[in-house]
Amino acid sequence: MSRQSESEGPTRRGFYAGAIYAIGGIVGAALGAPALIYLFFSPKARKAGEWVEAGDVTSLAPHQPVEMVFRRNRVDGWKVVSEKGTAWVVKDAGQGVTAFSPQCTHLGCAYHWDDAKDQFVCPCHNSLFSLDGKVLAGPAPRGLDRYETRVEGGKLLLGGLRPPSGSQA
């Protein structure tokens, strides 16, 4: 008792401890919540997806995939970078055009068209895809992803990427 100059009875001690934990909790939450929001909320979108011109499709032979190279703008953090993009473009017998993303759906390697096999071949783990993007063999979990497409005046315009219709992503 000799060192308790302050009246530190059990009630007072309990009040002190409670207040210390409560204030600690409030301050911690007021710092932690904004930090979590800051880290996990995605940045405000700056631009809706825009259509990019990939090239001329009037002269394409049907059922002959062609790798088209184009430039596009991509939002990268605080920058908009202009970069090279590619798409494997296939024209069907009519006027329909399909544009595949150039990455294998397994682990993102670049695949290519094998004329002899008449298939898309991924060199990394031997995934094989048909002309219409379906998985023929290998570990790829789904068919090739496609760009939204539009043809205006013979020019192919590419929009956003989407997984093949009817696939289990």
Binding site: R3, S5, Y16, V27, P34, I37, Y38, R46, K79
Partner: protein
């Protein structure tokens, strides 16, 4: 539930000893006179932790080079949720840290807490004060806006003027006097990699010394029973932390920290001013000119630091009650008066803002959403006095139809034919033909298509400088390379927010010689008349 917890604690204690160490720390005996006046040290440590926490969060989205720093900070402020709050906490936390460290020092000084055997504790404390100021100095440059750039130019020039060590300091700060990439890198490394570990080390040493010698007692304490640190004093510290945090959070949430224009070394109009806690030095410097300047910039601050370090060796008397320490009180009072007077003078003599484009944002600003073409249409609409015959929304009845009602039912081609030959398109109409060329009529039609009853009143508020500026914009076909409000092409940079990136003088000089001001730019030079130059720049600067 208590038992398993006690088991874990016992296990941990046996292996690490941490629970016992914490218990011993909290059970520390402190003098009976301890109380609210000793809370400042704890609050300073808390604020340091807040600075470290928010600093890391900012660094996660920040690119520390002059090329990217400004844009990445803008990204944090405008595109990341809570980014503005985090930066606010860091900015105001820095200011509060200086206040709290100063209060801690004043308390220790008034109570004679530096006396034997606590001289080393005091010296480490002075070191921590200098570190706190060093954070303010180095962090000031990191936003890389005009304020940061020009403030740092002044600081580095001062350092260069120091006798003997000046040239060495210049070399250490990098870049031989100019503030550029090297200086920036060094300031960033100081701010984030050198100062924090040094601070941690000195805080640890400071606390160790406080514990070693005990909290400074007041005369008469030895007769009274001692108390324990926990929970009474911990409670007081926590309440003080809470008050400090409440103030900090309110400031961060309510007071917007400005981000000025991108640093512009060629801007000749910018008047740099330091952060408020350095204003007294700034003002001292104004009083000392010519050969005396170095006295104000280096000698006086140096002497002040020397005096602080010598305090425990000058005043070596026994501890007396604080009420009898009149000399100490006098010194604190004099310093406070001097600091306040200098700071107040600096604040009172603050020069007005340079007359930059002042846009009245209090009125409706829907006009800012219009494309330059539509804005030029507004100019033709006024020039041709269309409102003389046509009503725009509800109002007095006029001979022509209400344009907010009819235009939405017509397309641009019809309108242009109608403008050229009103009688052919609408037989019997009283409307005269409009003598404008095709491009101009296009603008007018574009504006009319945009017009509807909801925006009519706001569109009428479009200021003349904007419509006239848009005419210049259209006449020079700026939209063939630039975008405004997402209209135009993105060959050159978009022009919205230009005023936040560049100074007015820079933009005006850029028109005349783009290759000189932004090397590699494909923009041709434009020789605009001074009137057109003014209109176009004012218009572009008004676009958010």
């Amino acid at each position: 539930m208590r038992r398993p917890w006690a088991g874990i604690a016992a296990w941990l204690d046996e292996r690490t000893g941490v629970p016992t160490a914490v218990r011993n720390f909290l059970a520390e005996e402190i003098p009976a006179s301890s109380g609210w006046r000793q809370v400042f040290g704890g609050v300073a440590v808390f604020l340091f932790l807040v600075q470290a926490f928010t600093g890391v969060l900012l660094a996660i989205n920040y690119a520390p080079t002059p090329g990217d720093a400004y844009n990445s900070l803008r990204y944090i402020l405008t595109e990341l949720t809570a980014g503005r709050l985090i930066r606010g906490l860091h900015h105001w936390g820095a200011g509060m840290m200086i206040v709290v460290v100063a209060l801690h020092l004043i308390q220790a000084f008034l109570y004679g807490a530096y006396k034997k055997p606590r001289e080393a504790t005091w010296l480490v404390g002075v070191g921590l004060l200098l570190l706190t100021l060093a954070y303010g100095l180095t962090g000031y440059l990191l936003p890389w806006d005009n304020r940061a750039y020009w403030g740092t130019v002044v600081v580095t020039q001062m350092a260069a003027s120091a006798p003997v060590v000046g040239p060495y300091l210049t070399r250490l700060l990098g870049g031989g006097g100019a503030v550029g990439v090297v200086t920036f890198a060094r300031f960033f490394v100081m701010h984030t990699m050198v100062l924090p570990p040094v601070t941690l080390l000195l805080i640890a040493l400071h606390v160790f010394l406080v514990r070693k010698h005990g909290v400074t007692p007041a005369p008469g304490d030895e007769l009274l029973p001692r108390k324990r640190f926990y929970p009474g004093q911990v409670f007081r510290d926590t309440v003080a932390v809470f008050i400090a945090f409440a103030i900090l959070f309110t400031l961060a949430a309510a007071v917007r920290v400005p981000l000025e224009q991108l640093a512009d070394p060629s801007d000749t109009t910018y008047i740099p001013r330091p952060e408020w806690y350095f204003l007294f030095l700034f003002q001292t410097l104004k009083l000392m000119t010519g050969p005396l300047e170095v006295v104000g910039s280096v000698v006086l601050p140096g002497l002040a630091v020397l005096a602080l370090t010598l305090v425990p060796f000058i005043d070596r008397g026994a501890l007396v009650k604080v009420t009898r320490r009149t000399t100490a009180m006098g010194i604190v009072a004099l310093a406070a008066i001097g600091w306040t007077a200098l700071t107040a003078t600096a604040l009172a003599t603050k020069p007005g803002q340079a007359p930059a484009a002042q846009v009245d944002y209090s009125g409706p600003t829907d006009w800012m959403q219009l494309s330059p073409e539509e804005m030029a249409g507004v100019a033709y609409f006024r020039q041709e006095n269309c409102a003389g015959c046509h009503a725009i929304g509800a109002g007095a009845s006029k001979p022509g139809p209400d344009l907010t009602q009819t235009s939405i039912h017509r397309d641009a081609a019809w309108m242009i034919r109608h403008f050229k030959q009103p009688g052919v398109v609408r037989p019997g109409t009283l409307m005269p033909a409009i003598a404008l060329n095709d491009a101009q009529l296009n603008s007018l039609a574009a504006f009319l298509l945009k017009l509807n009853p909801r925006n009519a009143a706001a569109l009428e508020n479009a200021p003349d400088f904007a419509t006239q500026g848009a005419l210049v914009y259209q006449a020079n076909d700026c939209g063939s390379c630039h975008q405004v409000n997402a209209m135009g092409t993105s060959f050159g940079p978009a022009l919205n927010g230009l005023s936040k990136r560049r100074s007015r003088s820079w933009v005006e000089r850029h028109f005349a010689d783009p290759a000189k001001l932004s090397p590699g730019s494909g923009m041709p030079p434009y020789n605009l008349s001074s009137k057109d130059l003014d209109r176009l720049t004012t218009y572009l600067f008004a676009l958010e």
